[in-house]
Structures are given as C-alpha cells and as structure tokens.
Subunit: 497 residues, 2 copies
C-alpha cells in the first residue's frame, strides 16, 4: 500500500501558490452546498505515521473552509465517562450530523493498531476489530455518510529526518517526545500492522487514501483535492433508495406462533403478589448495590402491545432502585437532531455508565416494529437492522452491560377491555388516543413483526423474555424475577468475550 507514498512526491512553492486559492475557494463552495442540501454527513478520518503532518493538514482544512461547520475530534486516552462505556461509544458521540463535516483524528483505527504493535493485544483481537470496523463503516455508508479516510505516510528515513529536524529547531523541539522516538523504533512493526489493517478495511465504499507526508505542499494539495473531489461527486449523486435484496420473511403458514402459543391464563392472587413483590424488589435493590455491580451497568428494554402494562411494570422496577442510579428513556418519534444521525445514534447516547441502570420504554426495536409496519423506513433498512441490533447488543454485553429485554404480550380481547376501561375512567383517559385504535387495527402486522423480531434478535447473550401479561400482577412478578435472575447470572459469570 505504501510504495506509491515513498517515491518522493513534491510540489514547488510556486505551483502551490498558484493552485491553492482555487482549491480553497472550491472547497468552501462545496462545504456550503453540503450545508444547504444537508442530506449527508462527511466523516474524515485522519491517521498515519507520526510526523507526517496530520495535525498541520487538519488545521489547514479548518482554515480553508468555514470552521463553524466542522468539528474536529482528537482521541487520546479515554476519559472516565468514556472508559465506562463500550469502546465505540466515544466515536458514536462524535459523529457529525447531516450537512456537517467531522474530522476524526485517530479514530477507531488507533487502538487496534497501537495495541497490536505494542503486543498488548492478540492477533485475534485485531482481526475482530477489523471486522467491527468494516461493519460499522458499512453501516455509516448505508445510512448515507460520506466516509473519507486519509493515511499520512512517511518512509522510515523520512520519519527519522523529520523527527531530527523538529528536534533541532528550538521552536518545534517541544513537539518531539520520548514516546515519538519509542514509536519510531517500532516503525517496521507499525508499518506491517497498519498496512494489513488498511488493506483489510479499504473497501469499495470506504477506501483508504495514502498520502506521502514529507513535502507539505504536496500533502496539503493532495488532501484538499481528495476532499474536494469526494464532496463534489457525492453532492452530484441523487440519494438512492436501495431496494432490499434479502429474501422476504414469511409469516408462519399454520398461524401458530410464539405469541399465540403463550399461556395467557397465568395469573396470581393479590396476596401472593404483594409478598412476592416485596421480596423481589428487595432482592433487586441488593443486587444493584452489590460490589460486583460497580463495574457493570444494566440496560432493560420494555416493549409490548399498547396497554400491555409497560408503565406500571417499569414503576415496579424503579421503586426498587435508588433514583440517582437509574434513568428512564421513553422512546417516541426521533428529534431533528436524532434524525440527522445514523439510526442507532440516539440509543448509544443514552447508555448508562458503570453502576447505573437505563430503562428503555420502547427502544431500538422500533425500527423492526412500528417503523416496519408503518413503512417509516424501507424494507432494506429494517432487514439490515436485525444484524445491526445484534452487533450493538453484542458490543454492550462484551463491555459489561447486562441487557434484559421484555416483550409484554396481551391478547387482542384483553387489549380491547383495557382500551374501554381507559376511555371510561377519567384519570386514565389521557392514556388512550386515536393512534392506539389505529395500531390495534394492524394487530396482525404487528404480531408478525414481533415474531420476526424475537426469532432474529433473541440471542444467548441478550435473550428476549416473553411475558404473558393478561394478568397484571403475574406479569410484574415475572418481570422482576427474570430481572433478578439475569442480573445474578451476569454478576456470577466471568467476563464474556
């Protein structure tokens, strides 16, 4: 990959002076068109060899364009906040919204490469990271992002020369640290690992561009021109709605399914309920104060038919918790800001830190439920959501998040009864809207979506628990019991990989 960036590229000062103003103006224009159209984000990844001029180039891009619409992120050691979430959390946080440019310095490539070079990670870790990156970038591209990946390269000799030059000049001396020389000594290994990583992640939709870094004029013009051409081409393409290539999912032909084979007659007497409730709430409370929970967090997902009793169940859970420790996230239609980001962005932002609990009242499963049924997204979108969701939950579980998912199931008759009740009882009146009646008419479509969802996203690491909820008390007890058992299981088990 690096041969072409070692032939001694250079551009004279005169040529640079002549070409720079035009490039600069074109870039600015493209940036404003991007802002106006506002239909895709631009993600520029800047990485490469130390001393190859990454920082200067990024500064110059900010100078050439309107820096108010560019966000530059550098990623050093993770902050406390970041260290308590899955590694990708900080990158999700820094994704630019549609219409904007985000420059990511280092990004998701740094750690996999550096850990491999330092020998602190095994080969398999690198292979896994590369696959995660490919999936992640594929998702970004499918969601419409323009992903530009620039690698600034120096040959070994050029890097040595550059470090010495910087050291000699009193004005730049401070920029060369012992770490830089340590890393220089690992040059060959670094080159090998990064060449491999670049090749494996240089996909057709998100290719790497290697830029020789020794001559500033050459690297500035090259980076700027690449950015310009990518922007202009992308601005000229009409957004395509890709049709789904996946084979269609089929509802079960004999009308037997996991929902209608549940036992809805299950119920529980008031007295048993009261005593069980108290016991289980106490047990849950103890669990969240368990020292082993200090390095874990808990995500609970509540989904279910309208009027299945999500609200009441959630309250029975939160009663058991310290208010400083939990957060309930009700999921309704996305905000403008959320709409300007990839689908999962709005869920990533609410992930709890260690020792905390986040309860999602409806969740990322909206895409394969309401968005699918109401056709708010394309078939291709919700079809790919299953594997994206599984990947997402896998990242959570692998990083000390306990994920518990409930589907509260009631029968159609029971729902009707509850709707009527709500209409009649004054203080429950706000809980029933025309939407509820409309959704009810799509009962079969929703049922089908739920069955597909459970089939495709109930995994050994984050299984769905289906709760027959015709009897409110029974449902609440089952929820609390499952929650306690799953948290206990997770605290007992060693870290899952």
């Amino acid at each position: 990959m690096f041969e072409s960036a070692e032939v001694g590229h250079r551009i004279s000062r005169e040529e640079y002076k002549q070409r720079e103003p035009e490039l600069r103006q074109a870039l600015l224009q493209a940036q404003y068109r991007l802002l106006e159209q506002g239909n895709f984000p631009v993600i520029i990844i800047v990485d490469g060899v130390d001393g190859a001029g990454k920082g200067e180039t990024v500064n110059l891009l900010n100078e050439w364009m309107d820096p108010r619409h560019i966000v530059t992120h550098a990623f050093g050691d993770p902050t406390d906040e970041e260290a308590q979430r899955p590694p990708m959390w900080r990158f999700w946080r820094s994704l630019p919204p549609k219409g904007r440019i985000g420059i990511l310095f280092g990004s998701w490539y740094t750690n996999p490469i550096v850990n491999q070079v330092a020998g602190t990670a095994k080969r398999i870790a690198l292979i896994q990271s590369i696959e995660e990156i490919r999936h992640f970038e594929q998702m970004l591209v499918t969601e419409g992002a323009l992903v530009i990946k620039l690698w600034f390269h120096l040959s070994k000799d050029a890097q040595r020369k550059r470090l010495k030059e910087l050291e000699k000049d009193p004005k730049t001396q401070w920029r060369v640290t012992d770490t830089d020389w340590d890393r220089f000594r690992a040059y060959d290994k670094f080159r090998k690992v990064s060449e491999y990583t670049l090749r494996e992640t240089s996909t057709g939709d998100a290719p790497w561009h290697v830029i020789e870094g020794s001559d500033p004029h050459y690297r500035y013009l090259t980076a700027g021109t690449l950015l310009l051409e990518a922007l202009e081409r992308r601005l000229s393409i009409r957004q395509e709605r890709r049709s789904s290539h996946g084979t269609p999912l089929l509802p079960s032909l004999d009308s037997r399914n996991i929902l209608n084979t549940l036992d809805y007659s299950a119920s529980m007497g008031k007295k048993e309920y009261e005593s069980e409730l108290e016991k289980l709430q106490g047990r849950l409370n103890l669990l969240t104060r368990d020292p082993r929970f200090a390095k874990k967090s808990l995500v609970v997902v509540f989904e279910g038919q309208d009027a299945a009793g999500k609200g009441g169940s959630i309250r029975r859970v939160t009663t058991a918790l310290d208010a400083r420790q939990f957060n309930i996230v009700p999921i309704a239609a996305p905000t403008d800001e959320e709409r300007a980001h990839p689908y999962l962005w709005r869920f990533w932002r609410h992930l709890p830190r260690h020792n905390h609990v986040t309860i999602f009242d409806r969740s990322w499963y909206g895409r394969v439920l309401v968005e699918r049924v109401e056709k708010f997204c394309t078939t291709a979108d919700w079809m790919r959501a299953y594997i994206e969701i599984n990947d997402f939950e896998e990242q959570l579980v692998r990083n000390n998040v306990i994920v518990v998912k409930f589907w509260l199931a009631i029968t159609k008759d029971e729902q009707l009864k509850r709707f009527r009740e709500r209409e009649e009882v004054a203080y429950k009146n706000h809980k029933i809207t025309p939407d509820d009646w409309r959704n009810r008419r799509k009962w079969t479509s929703y049922e089908r979506a739920v069955c597909d969802m459970v089939e495709r996203t109930s995994t050994e690491i984050a299984p769905w628990t289906l709760i027959p909820a015709n009897d409110v008390e029974y449902a609440r007890i089952m929820i609390l019991r499952t929650l306690c058992e799953q948290v206990e299981g997770a605290l007992r088990s060693r870290k899952k990989k």
Copy 2:
C-alpha cells in the same frame, strides 16, 4: 433463533392437498420467468438438523419445478481434486449461472459448524469463517444473485423421536447410522454453534429462514412459499446500477508515480543473458521438482503494457517446466458462460492442483485495468474489486498456492518503437492491431489504473514486482530470478496463516 421453530407447527393433509397444486404451478411459472429474463442466478442453501427433512424437501422442489434448470449439489468429504484447492473452490465450481437455480446441500456452512462442534477447530477459525462467508455472500448479492438460506430445525425431543421412527421402520432403517446418533448426542453444542453462526450470517441481504422440520406438510409448504415469494419479488425488481459511494481515487498531483520513477535504462549484454538464463531456468526446474513443492502450487500473473514482452517472458518461464505440469491461461473478453457468473468465477476455475503451475497471461486484474479504463464495468464494481481480489489471493496463499505477480513496464517511446517494428516485420504483423493503437492513446488512463492497482493490491503475501522491460533480456532475467526467489521463499517458510 430457534424458538419459533419449536412451537409445533403443522398443516393438515387436507389443507396441504388444497394448497399444494397452486404453489406448485406458481413456482414453475416463476422458474420459467427466471429462465427467460436470465439476469440473475438463484442460490438456495439448505442446511440444518439431521432428520429435519432437508433431503425430502430438496427432492420435492425438484419435483415441483423443472429439474432440468436446477442443479443440486451435495458436499461430502472433499474429492482429491477439491482437497488440493482452497476450500471455497468447490463452491465456486457449483455456483449456478444466471437464469438457473442451484441448490447447495450443506454448502460453505457445514465445515465451520461441524468442526467447531467436533472441537477440531478453534473459536477463531469459526469467527474467520463467518467473516469469509459474509464477504462471499455479500459479493454474490452485489453481483446480482438471489441467495435463499433455509435452515431445517428440530427440537431435541423431535430429533430423538424422528431418529427412532426411522429406525423402527424396516424401509427407512438404513438411513439412521451411528454417525447420526453420535451427532444427536452433540445436539446441544450443535444447536449453540449453529445458532451463533446463523445469527452472525443472517444479514439484511441474505437472511436465514428457520423452518420447523417435524411436520412434512408444514415444511414443504413453507420452503416452497419462501422460494416463491423470494423469486417473485426479485423478478419484479428492476436491476439497479448502484453508484459508487467510495471516495474517488486521485492521480498523484506532482505527476511522480511508481511507474515513471522506475529505472528504464537497466539492461544486460547478450552473453551475460545467455548464461544467466540457463542458470535460472535450471534453478526453476529443480524447484518445481522439489519434494516440498508436491503439496504446493504456483500461480504466476503476467500483466503489462501492450508490447511489453509478456509472451516472450512466459516462454522463457515455461521452457524451464515440464509440459504436464503447467497450464497457460490467456485472458481475453469473457465467454457467455463466464459472464453469467460472478466476476472471479472464471479465474477460480483455472486454479492449479498441487504440484502444478498456472500462468495467467493477463488476469483478474483486468477489472481494475481495461474494464475500468474502458468503462466496461461501473465505478462501484472496480472499486470493490480491490478488496475482493485481495481476499481471493489471501485464500490462495493461505492454502498453499504461491502467487507471483509481474507488471512489465515499458516507456511510451519504447512501445512506439515496438509497434512500428511489428508492423514492418511480416511474421510479427499479427501481433499489432488497431486496438493496440487505441489503447496507446489512453496511455495516461492506463498508467493511472496501474498505479492504483499496485498501491491497493501489492500485499505482503502477494506483492507486485514491477519489471522495467525496455531491455528485453534484462526483463526476462529479472522475472526468472524473482520467480525463483519467491518460490524458494515460499518453500522455506512454514505454512502461512
């Protein structure tokens, strides 16, 4: 994944009798439309639990449709032929052409799952296989294939019951072997591994469908209906030409590149040439008779500008080899049959078996050279070709194929000289065509394509060697020497992973 296939699905004989004729007719019609349109292949993957009725279902599909346009492949232990090629070779061989249906029994899923269950492969092997499968199926879908994946499932109890039933009936007794019972004892592990594999490979474009296998009527109708719906939807979609989302590649801004920085003045005297030639040919001949070569094979790729001397160089190589041992594959425009398959298919079919040499006179690099420059394929197509080619070569090298790649480079002046010579010399006249002159006018575009190609596909396991070939003798010697060195290196090194 399997919950929905354990609820005891069944369809009564009456219902089956009523629905079957209609389904059957619709399937046959869809099959004929597919044949007529002839614009995509259908790949049906059938896998699952033993005794879940895979074989019967496949037989029935053949009965329902016109079996002349269906090819069914079962994959047992690899044949001699197959064992001497990379594992994917036999699956490439069995891909159906456009317009046809291929049913793959077992397929690329069997070995990764079975080896994991048997404990003969490490976890990392499964993870790598899964990624290879994802890339491979993504390629198939991008190339236009409809990929339908059916998994026939039985719960543990149902499998036990089924095996006992088969054993009891004298007519079916022979179908239950000790292996079946051995595999039954590994049911739980098998279930776990396959659930994981299915989930990780159930992408939006190629999702798995799990079918409960206990009731024949249910499984037949379900498999048939799935196939029908997938076919009908796909037949109704107009083929889309996806625009490239990748950032455009940039020619080097200072006009310095890896081709024009070569030393074209390198030359060699006649006498030195003769003596070197003999020595190197002898050395190469010995290498191909080396016992360590018995389990290896050699693929040599020759690419270069027109009139760069590929033909003469190839002859100097083959002179050193036993005629029974090598095969020269000249690559021109693809045949109809080749065009009906994914791009790399026509190269896979020519891979050498152990102890053999295949020389490609032009190669799979055509996609990123002539097809790119002449716009025979879309930008998206040649942009994704780089990573597909790298994956392909990685599979070769990991499976004992030595890959040596030459680019024969001449200057534009030298080419002109040779063209004129060819026109003048009668016996060389056939070697110069209007095409050659036409290509020459696109010199710069080709040069750019070559630089991008080398940058993106010269890897540590299959590097490009650029040979300055203005001096014919020098070039031939360099080629033979490189070939000897790379083969020696590969024979010395332990198996690469």
